[in-house]
C-alpha cells in the first residue's frame, strides 16, 4: 500500500480530513480535479488572475497554506477515473496515469447544482448559480451584462453580490422563498453571527444598487432566438407551485438559476454502501455514524457529498472523519480520539441550526417538479423530456435504472448527475416514493476521461492480451 488513507475532494471537508489524519502521522494522499485546494466555496482564482480580496479567498489561502506546510501528499489537477476495493485509485495527471493504494478512503466529493427544468433552460446564456460562482471566483468573469438571478437559497445573494461587485447589472433577484421564510430563519441564522454579518453585507451592497427582489416567484420560461433575451416570471406558492397572478417579463442577456444542490455521493454508491433518502440534505445520502464511517469497512464520507450541511459542518465533519481514520488505523488511542474529536463535534453541533436552515431553503420542492411542462427537456445530455420519462413509466419502468434503459435519460457523459434528482422525483410521483425509484447505478469513470490520456503510449505487442475464447 502506498498510503494510509486516500482522500478524494480537497474542499473544506476533504482538506480538513487530510490535515487531521496527517497530524496523527498517517500518510495521506489528497486528490482533486482542480489545480488548487479549496473546493467550491474557497475556490482559488485561476493562475495569473489577481482578484480583489474576499473572505472566501482569505479562507482558501489559509487552508492552502496549511496544506502546503503539512505532510499531505497533494495530488491536485488529477482526474480520478477508477476507484477499486481496499482501496485502489487511478487518476490521470500531468504525467499520465497514477495509481495509489490505501486501506482507507474518504469521500469528500462535494455537491453539484440542481436546476429544476423550465422551458428555455438549455438556451445559451442560462447558467447555474453554482456555475456562476465559479465564473466569478475563478475566472473573474461576469455571466452577462444584464443578469437575472433566480432560484432559491443563499447562493442567490452570493451571486447577485458578486455580479454587482464586478460591475455587472443584476436586473432582478427572483426568489422562490418569501421574506417571511427568511425571517423565520433569523433565530437559526443568529447562531452564526460571522455569517449573519456577511449576509448583512450582501443586503447593503445590493441595497445601494436598488436591485429589485421578486419574492415568491419562479422562472416560467427563458425566451430568446438563439440565446436568452427575456425571462418570464410567475408567482409561486409556499410549495413552489405556480399560482394565478400577473406574470413579469424581464429583459436580460443572462439568467443564473439554481434550485439548491445535490450531494455528489457517487463514491459510496459505487461501493453500494447503505444509503437513505433525505430531502433536506439534498437527496440520497450515505448512512454514516457520527464520525463519517459508511457501512463499508474503510470507507468514510464527509462534507456536502454526504448530505448538504454547508461549509462550517464540512470543516468539522472532515476533521472527525480524518480522526476516525487515524483511530481505526491504530494511530490514535481511544482516549486520544475521544479527546480530539470533542472540539470538532461541538463545532458541528453549533453549526447545525444554521446549516439545517440553509439546507431547508435549498431542498427540492416537489410542486416545482410537478410544474415542469411535458415537452421540457429534463436530461440535457440525451435530450429526454418529462413526457418521455412518464411514457417509460407507462411502459412498466418502476425504478430509475429501468427508466434509463427505456429512454437513455442519464446515459450521457454526466452519468445523470444533473438530471437524476429531478428525474427521480418525476418517476417517484408515479411509483410512490423516492426510495422505491432509487438512484442511477454509479459507474466508473467518476468523470469522463479522454481515451488518448487513458491509453498513454504503448506498443501493440505489449498489450497483455488474455487467452482467446474457445473456437
Amino acid at each position: 500500500m502506498s498510503h494510509d488513507v486516500i482522500i478524494l475532494g480537497a474542499g473544506p471537508a476533504g482538506a480538513n480530513a487530510a490535515l487531521a489524519a496527517a497530524e496523527t502521522g498517517l500518510k495521506v494522499a489528497l486528490f482533486d480535479q482542480q489545480p488548487e485546494a479549496g473546493g467550491q466555496v474557497w475556490r482559488a482564482p485561476l493562475p495569473g488572475l489577481a482578484l480583489p480580496a474576499s473572505p472566501e479567498k482569505a479562507g482558501g489561502d489559509a487552508l492552502r497554506a496549511r496544506l502546503a506546510a503539512s505532510s499531505v501528499d497533494l495530488r491536485l489537477g488529477r482526474t480520478v477515473w477508477s476507484v477499486g476495493a481496499h482501496f485502489r485509485l487511478d487518476a490521470l495527471g500531468p504525467d499520465g496515469n497514477e495509481t495509489v493504494e490505501a486501506p482507507r478512503l474518504i469521500a469528500a466529493t462535494g455537491a453539484h447544482e440542481r436546476v429544476v427544468p423550465f422551458p428555455g433552460w438549455t438556451l445559451p446564456g442560462v447558467i447555474g448559480l453554482a456555475a456562476a460562482t465559479v465564473l466569478l471566483k475563478s475566472h473573474g468573469a461576469l455571466p452577462g451584462q444584464r443578469v437575472v438571478v433566480a432560484g432559491c437559497g443563499p447562493l442567490l445573494a452570493a451571486v447577485a453580490t458578486g455580479i454587482v461587485k464586478m460591475g455587472g447589472t443584476v436586473v432582478a433577484i427572483v426568489d422562490l422563498a418569501g421574506p417571511g421564510d427568511w425571517l423565520r430563519l433569523l433565530p437559526a441564522l443568529a447562531t452564526q453571527p460571522r455569517l449573519l454579518a456577511r449576509g448583512a453585507g450582501w443586503a447593503l451592497k445590493l441595497g445601494g444598487k436598488r436591485v429589485p427582489v421578486h419574492f415568491r416567484h419562479g422562472v416560467r420560461a427563458a425566451l430568446g432566438a438563439d440565446a436568452v433575451a427575456r425571462v418570464r416570471l410567475a408567482p409561486v406558492d409556499a410549495q413552489g407551485a405556480f399560482t394565478a397572478g400577473p406574470e413579469i417579463t424581464l429583459e436580460a442577456d443572462a439568467l443564473t438559476v439554481g434550485h439548491g444542490l445535490v450531494p455528489g455521493n457517487e463514491l459510496p454508491r459505487l461501493f453500494r454502501t447503505e444509503q437513505t433518502f433525505d430531502r433536506r440534505r439534498g437527496g440520497f445520502v450515505p448512512v454514516l455514524d457520527a464520525f463519517g464511517r459508511t457501512s463499508l469497512d474503510g470507507l468514510y464520507a464527509c462534507g456536502d457529498g454526504a448530505g448538504l450541511r454547508g461549509v462550517l459542518v464540512a470543516e468539522a465533519a472532515g476533521q472527525l472523519a480524518g480522526l476516525a481514520c487515524a483511530h481505526d488505523a491504530g494511530a490514535l488511542t481511544a482516549a486520544a480520539f475521544a479527546e480530539r474529536t470533542k472540539a470538532p463535534a461541538a463545532a458541528a453541533a453549533q453549526a447545525r441550526p444554521f446549516s439545517d436552515a440553509m439546507a431547508g431553503m435549498m431542498a427540492l420542492r416537489p410542486a416545482q417538479v410537478a410544474a415542469i411542462p411535458p415537452e421540457t427537456v429534463v436530461c440535457r445530455c440525451e435530450d429526454v423530456t418529462r413526457a418521455e420519462i412518464e411514457a417509460a413509466y407507462d411502459d412498466g419502468a418502476r425504478d430509475l435504472n429501468q427508466m434509463k434503459q427505456f429512454t437513455r435519460c442519464g446515459m450521457g457523459p454526466c452519468q445523470g448527475r444533473f438530471c437524476g434528482d429531478v428525474a427521480g422525483e418525476i418517476l417517484a410521483a408515479k411509483v410512490g416514493s423516492r426510495e422505491k425509484v432509487g438512484t442511477y447505478t454509479a459507474r466508473p469513470p467518476l468523470r469522463p476521461v479522454p481515451l488518448a490520456d487513458l491509453m498513454g503510449s504503448f506498443d501493440y505487442g505489449d498489450i497483455p492480451i488474455p487467452r482467446p475464447a474457445p473456437l
Binding site: G84, G396, R398, G412, P445, I463, I465, P470
Partner: protein, 375 residues
C-alpha cells in the same frame, strides 16, 4: 388463486423471455418469473454485437438464423431494438494473428458463416476508419448490433401482448415437484405449472440445484466501456483475430468497446469491480484498430455476468430424469443466438420437432468427459 400454468419460465433474460413469448403464441398459458425487472442482467447490459466472427463454430448455424430474427425484430418482437445490420471485420495486425485469423475464419466458413479473408488495403476500403497497420481481415456481411438496453422494453410489450403473466421483481426460491407438475416458490406465493423452464443465466446452477441437478456453471465478468457521443469514426463492427475486441459506433454517436476483458465479481454480488489495467488494455486495442477513436472520452464502464458450461456450449434442452423440466442458457455470444435457441426449445415444449438439434445437458452431468459436442 389456483391457476395452473402450462408453463412457468424462471428468469427473464433473452432466453427466458423468448421461450415464454413463443410458448404463449403457441397457445400455452405462461407465467414468466423474474427476480428483478425484465432483461436487466446479461441481456440488458451486453455489448449487443450480432456477429459470426466471435460465435463458436458449433453455434454458427444457430447464430445465422438468430441474426435473421434480430434483423426482423420489428416483425416478431414488435420493436426493432435498435438493430443495425452492417459489415463486420475481424483484424490481424501481426503474422501470428494472420495465422490465427485464417484458421478461425476457415472453420467458421466451413460451418456456414460467409466470411472472406481480405487484404489490409481492401479492409480499409470496407472500413475507412481502421488503422493502416492491418495485414489481413475477416470480412463478413452478416454482422451488426442491437441496443441491448432496449431489450427489456421490447420484450415487455411483446410478452404482455401475447398474454404472458409477467411477474417482475419476483425472485423464485425453490421448486417442489408435485403430481401434476411443479410448484415454484416465490417471495409472493407459489406459482403452479405443468412445465418449467430454468432460464436464469449464470444462476441456472442454483436453479438446477433446486431439482437436485449438479451442473457447474462458470461466471464470466465481462467489462464494457462506452464513449460519449462523437462524430462518425467507423461504420462497421470491428473485432480482432483472437476475439478480444468488439467495437462499433451507434447511430447516436457513442462507441461501445468490449471483447470479454474480465472484471471482478461473482454470482452472489454481481459485477462488483472493474480492473483499471484491463480497461486500459481494452481501450488500447480499440484505439489501435480505430485510431480516430482516441479523441473520444469514456463516459461509462460496467461489467455484466455471462454463463459458461464446462465445454462452453449451451445448456438448452430437457433436464434428464425430470419430465417436463427444461433448462435454457449458457449460450456463448448468447445475445446473438439466444432468441433462436430459446425458440427451438419453445417448439420442443409445444410438441414440435425443433428445426435444429437442442443442446441437452446429459453430456455435462456425472462424467469427467465434458468435451463432447451437441447431441
Amino acid at each position: 388463486m389456483s391457476t395452473t400454468y402450462d408453463l412457468a419460465v424462471i428468469g427473464g433474460g433473452v432466453h427466458g423471455s423468448t421461450c415464454a413469448l413463443f410458448a404463449a403464441r403457441g397457445g400455452m398459458k405462461v407465467a414468466l418469473i423474474e427476480r428483478g425487472p425484465l432483461c436487466r442482467e446479461a441481456s440488458g447490459v451486453n455489448a449487443g454485437t450480432l456477429t459470426m466472427q466471435m460465435t463458436r463454430v458449433a453455434l454458427i448455424p444457430y447464430a445465422l438464423r438468430a441474426h435473421a430474427m434480430w434483423a426482423n425484430a420489428s416483425e416478431w418482437l414488435g420493436h426493432d431494438v435498435g438493430v443495425v445490420v452492417c459489415d463486420g471485420l475481424s483484424l490481424a495486425f501481426t503474422e501470428q494473428e494472420e495465422e490465427l485469423l485464417s484458421f478461425r475464419a476457415g472453420k467458421r466458413r466451413e460451418a456456414g458463416a460467409p466470411i472472406e479473408l481480405i487484404s489490409g488495403a481492401d479492409a480499409l476500403r470496407v472500413e475507412p476508419g481502421i488503422s493502416d497497420k492491418v495485414r489481413l481481415a475477416g470480412y463478413c456481411k452478416v454482422d451488426g448490433y442491437a441496443n441491448a438496453y432496449l431489450t427489456g422494453l421490447a420484450f415487455r410489450r411483446a410478452l404482455l401482448g401475447a398474454g404472458v403473466d409477467l411477474m417482475e421483481n419476483t425472485p423464485a426460491s425453490g421448486i417442489d415437484r408435485e403430481e401434476s407438475g411443479f410448484a415454484v416458490k416465490t417471495a409472493t406465493g407459489v406459482v403452479r405449472a405443468k412445465r418449467v423452464v430454468l432460464a436464469g443465466g449464470v444462476w441456472i446452477e442454483p436453479m438446477l440445484g433446486w431439482l437436485g441437478i449438479d451442473l457447474p456453471i462458470k461466471t464470466l465478468i465481462n467489462q464494457l466501456v462506452v464513449t460519449e457521443r462523437v462524430r462518425p469514426v467507423m461504420r462497421t463492427v470491428v473485432g480482432i483475430a483472437n476475439g478480444l475486441l468488439s467495437l462499433k459506433q451507434y447511430p447516436h454517436g457513442t462507441v461501445v468497446i468490449g471483447g470479454g476483458w474480465q472484471g471482478i465479481g461473482d454470482r452472489e454480488r454481481g459485477g462488483v469491480e472493474l480492473m483499471p489495467d484491463r480497461i486500459v488494455g481494452n481501450v488500447r486495442l480499440a484505439c489501435h484498430a480505430i485510431p480516430e477513436l482516441k479523441d473520444a472520452r469514456v463516459a461509462r464502464a460496467w461489467a455484466g455476468l455471462e454463463a459458461e458450461t464446462a465445454d462452453a456450449l449451451p445448456a438448452a434442452g430437457p433436464i434428464p430424469g425430470i419430465p417436463d423440466a427444461y433448462v435454457c442458457g449458457s449460450v456463448h455470444s448468447g445475445y446473438t443466438s439466444g432468441p433462436y435457441i430459446a425458440r427451438l426449445l419453445a417448439d420442443r415444449i409445444l410438441g414440435h420437432e425443433p428445426a435444429l438439434p437442442l443442446f441437452p445437458i446429459d453430456r455435462l452431468l456425472n462424467s469427467g468427459d465434458a468435451e463432447r459436442g451437441p447431441q
